[in-house]
């Protein structure tokens, strides 16, 4: 197991270098001068454009720029955006918010999705089963911004139960509705996955053995059945958490959450090369770590799975 983990960690390095270089080159080769639109309906003064270009090293070749950037990144200096704001600070404010939103979303998925899936999986057909199936179908088919806008209008503006937008501190309570919105589609998937997995494993050998041994139903379901049915769900949740860390651009826009998604979107539009590359680099790292954790969890859940 130790060797496996070590091998995976070593694989991070080439993946990290490769992705960051690719992103860097892509961002810089997008046509358009980041300074052209900064002066409204008139051309920017020559001095300004030249000074900015020198400051950000835009007059050198891409390779040189990339290595300079990498050097600074590894020593912790994330640099500044074109309007002289610290990139590190902005990411530092946005990332915890995105993290809280992602965790809230996954928690809602597990609680609502998991419970609904287990119940319907155990019961088989019936009223609850049909209700859940139709409900999940609706959630999957509605785009996130529709769900978000409707909930914002109904709960926020009309009924006044929540505030239409999330405040700057983005506390856990405020993130419940946005978390639900961003996780709504995944929650539907979790429900269906759990349902399918449970109803398949319900008739498995080990369950029959456990019942024959006289174990209480609670233990049969709670320990044996759940643990083995969880594998496909864990895979899904792991990758979902990883992608949620990347920010939920649409939901963040609807609820005005200051998170990573909105940060990337704005900075791509403004052609802020450093900001975009830095964020994507961090996201790649997070994603790699998440998938490693998920893989390790398999071994915990299912004793049959072994890594050399």
């Amino acid at each position: 197991m130790g060797r496996y983990v070590l091998r995976r960690l070593l694989q991070f390095v080439p993946v990290f270098l490769g992705t960051t270089f690719l992103v860097y080159v892509l961002v810089w080769t997008v046509p358009g001068d980041p300074f052209a639109g900064m002066c409204g309906d008139r051309a920017c003064p020559d001095e300004f454009v030249t000074a900015m270009r020198t400051k950000f090293g835009l007059d050198q070749s891409v390779f040189v720029q990339y290595f300079q950037y990498l050097g600074r990144f590894l020593s912790g200096d994330f640099g500044q955006t074109y309007d002289n704001l610290s990139i590190g600070e902005q990411i530092g404010t946005a990332y915890p918010t995105t993290l809280r939103l992602a965790i809230t979303a996954v928690a809602i998925q597990i609680v609502i999705g998991g419970v609904a899936g287990v119940l319907t999986g155990l019961r088989g057909r019936g009223y609850l089963d049909n209700l859940v199936l139709v409900g999940t179908l609706c959630l999957i088919s509605l785009p996130v911004f529709v769900t978000g806008s409707i909930l914002q209008l109904v709960l926020g503006v009309d009924l006044g139960i929540i505030d239409p937008t999330v405040s700057a501190d983005a506390s856990w309570g405020e993130l419940i509705v946005p978390g639900f919105v961003v996780g709504s589609v995944s929650m539907a998937y979790v429900t269906r996955l759990t349902r399918a997995s449970i109803s398949e494993n319900r008739r498995a050998d080990f369950v029959r053995t456990a019942i024959a041994k006289g174990q209480p139903r609670r233990r049969v379901v709670g320990v044996h059945l759940l643990r083995n049915s969880a594998i496909p769900v864990i895979t899904f949740l792991g990758t979902d958490l990883g992608s949620l860390m990347g920010g939920a651009i649409v939901t963040e826009g609807v609820f005005n959450i200051n998170g990573i998604g909105g940060l990337i979107f704005r900075n791509v539009a403004e052609k802020e090369g450093y900001m975009v590359t830095t964020i994507v680099t961090l996201l790649v790292l997070v994603y790699l770590i998440m998938s490693l954790i998920v893989d390790l969890l398999y071994a915990v859940l299912d004793p049959r799975i072994r890594y050399d």
Binding site: A36, D41, P45, D83, N84, T93, G253, N256, G262
Partner: protein, 549 residues
């Protein structure tokens, strides 16, 4: 099992509801404050990330403008309805020939750090802004002052070439002279009657002595101004906080509330929702989804604020495209656009058709300067098209975001249907790339050319756009007669006589038509129920002194 299920479901549900309740931010505090005492209230307004560091001479876009307007007061203030200038920090501005201006300051004006506003604060700030290597975005606003060419140099081969602009000869402009603590003199290169209004623009604000002892970037982190509100904090992507400066001497601009929060939103839609539930107090513009079908009128009723904006939209016809040189063709295209219909339908009455190159509300506006050429007339248009012998196709280029695409597509369709020639809308990637295309002279057809006045003058609608080499001369048009007339108007000492000449120049544009005027935007904003009153001024900003809670 059923009872267990119910119990199992009840716990997370109640937990969720409880968290939602305590999660609801205490926006209730805003309301509590505003009903107690008006002088202690906090108001919040819609904001976007400033694109620069908010030094007055560096701020030319809306995000930073609303903050700079609050933090700094210039020599001259501008009235909210029509930007008529009046003396603010200046006690008097006198000139006999509109070339040499003698400016006396009122006493008792202080910066937020307690130091007095003196003449040298203005002169030093203006020299700083104009000096090329300081890379202030609004440097060319000082170009009329004598000695400007010695402090600001241009890049000899353009910004893309390897050469850099040479170091300027001097650090201060010879035209600015400090005559005493409260008096200075400004000499312009040539007489220019509008200058006494131009200096009301925020880039001409003074800077405190402290600014000149530190790195501008450090100063910008905690700016000190002389305006009615002083800086508290700026958290990027979240908010900019300002608070009332109690030692502000001028009653017309003094603010009645205590704190101002400029809340930064990533989308206008989210801000609009907050406005509807009274969590946001003011927006100076409404999102297209709210304006569609006049929905905002139902939602907001008497909370809607409107203003005559000093701006105009049009389509530039590039001089470097030979196929569009024929003036009959230009007139035909202009007469083929059904401005009334487009304003009513696509633009939801938020715009009015333009009838000249200067909008209503600017001093010197004359209705019908464009004459029949801006009226929809399909028969005449077809006649002129036939006479011009044009057989090619027409394109209109613009950035497609921000609601720019729809009315231009409608204009294109109008041209297509009236003249039976091919017309397509060509989207540019974004605003920055679009402006690059224009500056580089790479348009392939007509291009959207909108203009918002920097300062209230008919001159500002003509010089930057139609003068040879003007900073916004998108069509790259050059007409020596027009230039001569403008030069004459600029140097006419009497403002009323000058306006007559500017009006002549305005009318002169009808024949060659370098730009087809399309429409003029009506400013539509809104306030929340928390504010008793507020005024949207003609520059699309909240007039802070008019807010009553």
């Amino acid at each position: 099992m059923r009872r267990r299920t119910a119990a199992a479901a009840a716990i997370p549900l109640s937990l969720a509801l409880a968290l939602t309740a305590c999660g609801s931010k205490s926006g209730g505090d805003n309301n509590a404050n505003s009903t107690s005492k008006s002088s202690d209230a906090t108001i919040s307004i819609y904001g976007t990330n400033p694109q620069t560091n908010m030094l007055p001479a560096n701020t030319t876009e809306a995000g930073g403008a609303k903050v700079v307007e609050a933090m700094y007061s210039a020599l001259v203030g501008l009235k909210p309805e029509d930007a008529t200038p009046y003396n603010l920090v200046a006690e008097s501005i006198t000139t006999t020939d509109t070339k040499v201006y003698n400016i006396k300051l009122k006493k008792g004006w202080k910066f937020h750090d307690g130091t007095e506003v003196k003449a040298h604060n203005f002169v030093d700030a203006w020299n700083f802004a104009a000096y090329g290597p300081n890379t202030q975005l609004a440097a060319d606003f000082f170009s009329q002052i004598e000695g400007f060419d010695d402090v600001y140099t241009k890049d000899p081969d353009g910004t893309d070439g390897p050469q850099k602009p040479p170091t300027p000869k001097a650090k201060t402009m010879s035209g600015l002279k400090v005559l005493g603590d409260y008096e200075f003199q400004a000499t312009l290169k040539a007489p220019f009657s509008v200058w006494s209004a131009k200096i009301g623009y925020r880039v001409f604000a003074p800077l405190p002595d402290k600014f000149f002892t530190m790195d501008p970037a450090d100063f910008a982190k905690n700016p000190i101004g002389n305006g009615p509100l002083k800086f508290v904090s700026y958290t990027p992507n979240q908010s900019i906080k300002l608070t009332r400066f109690d030692d502000y001497p001028d009653p017309t601009k003094k603010v009645k509330f205590k704190d101002l929060e400029v809340r930064i939103y990533s989308t206008q839609e989210a801000a609009y929702k907050d406005l509807l539930s009274n969590k946001l107090d003011f927006m100076e513009a409404l999102p297209p989804s709210a304006k569609a079908g006049g929905k905002y009128k139902q939602d907001l009723g008497d909370q809607v604020l409107s203003a005559n904006l000093q701006g105009i939209s049009g389509l530039s016809i590039p001089e470097y495209l030979p196929e569009f040189k024929n003036t009959d063709l230009r007139h035909a295209l202009s007469m083929a656009i059904n401005r009334d219909q487009i304003s009513k339908t696509v633009l939801n009455d938020g715009y009015v058709p333009a009838d000249g190159w200067v909008p209503n509300g600017v001093k010197g506006y004359e209705p019908g300067a464009c004459g029949d050429f801006c009226k929809y007339d399909p028969t005449k248009a077809k006649e002129l098209l036939a006479r011009s012998g044009f057989t090619g196709k027409v394109t209109i280029t613009s950035n497609a975001d921000g609601g720019r695409k729809e009315p231009l597509e409608a204009a294109c369709n109008s041209i297509k249907n009236t003249l039976s020639i091919d017309c397509t809308f060509v989207p540019a990637t974004d605003f920055g790339q679009f402006r690059q295309m224009i500056t580089a002279g790479k348009l392939t057809g007509l291009g959207r050319s909108d203009w918002s006045a920097d300062y209230p003058s008919i001159e500002n609608f003509l010089n930057p756009i139609f003068r040879t080499g003007g900073s916004s001369n998108d069509a790259k048009w050059s007409n020596p007669e027009f230039d001569a007339l403008m030069a004459k108007a600029d140097s006419t000492a009497n403002p009323d006589d000058a306006i007559k000449l500017y009006q002549q120049a305005n009318r002169m544009l009808a024949e060659p038509m370098p730009k087809i005027p399309t429409w003029v935007e009506k400013g539509v904003g809104a306030r929340s129920k928390n504010l008793k009153s507020a005024v949207l001024n003609c520059r699309r900003l909240l007039e802070y002194s008019t807010v009553e809670v």
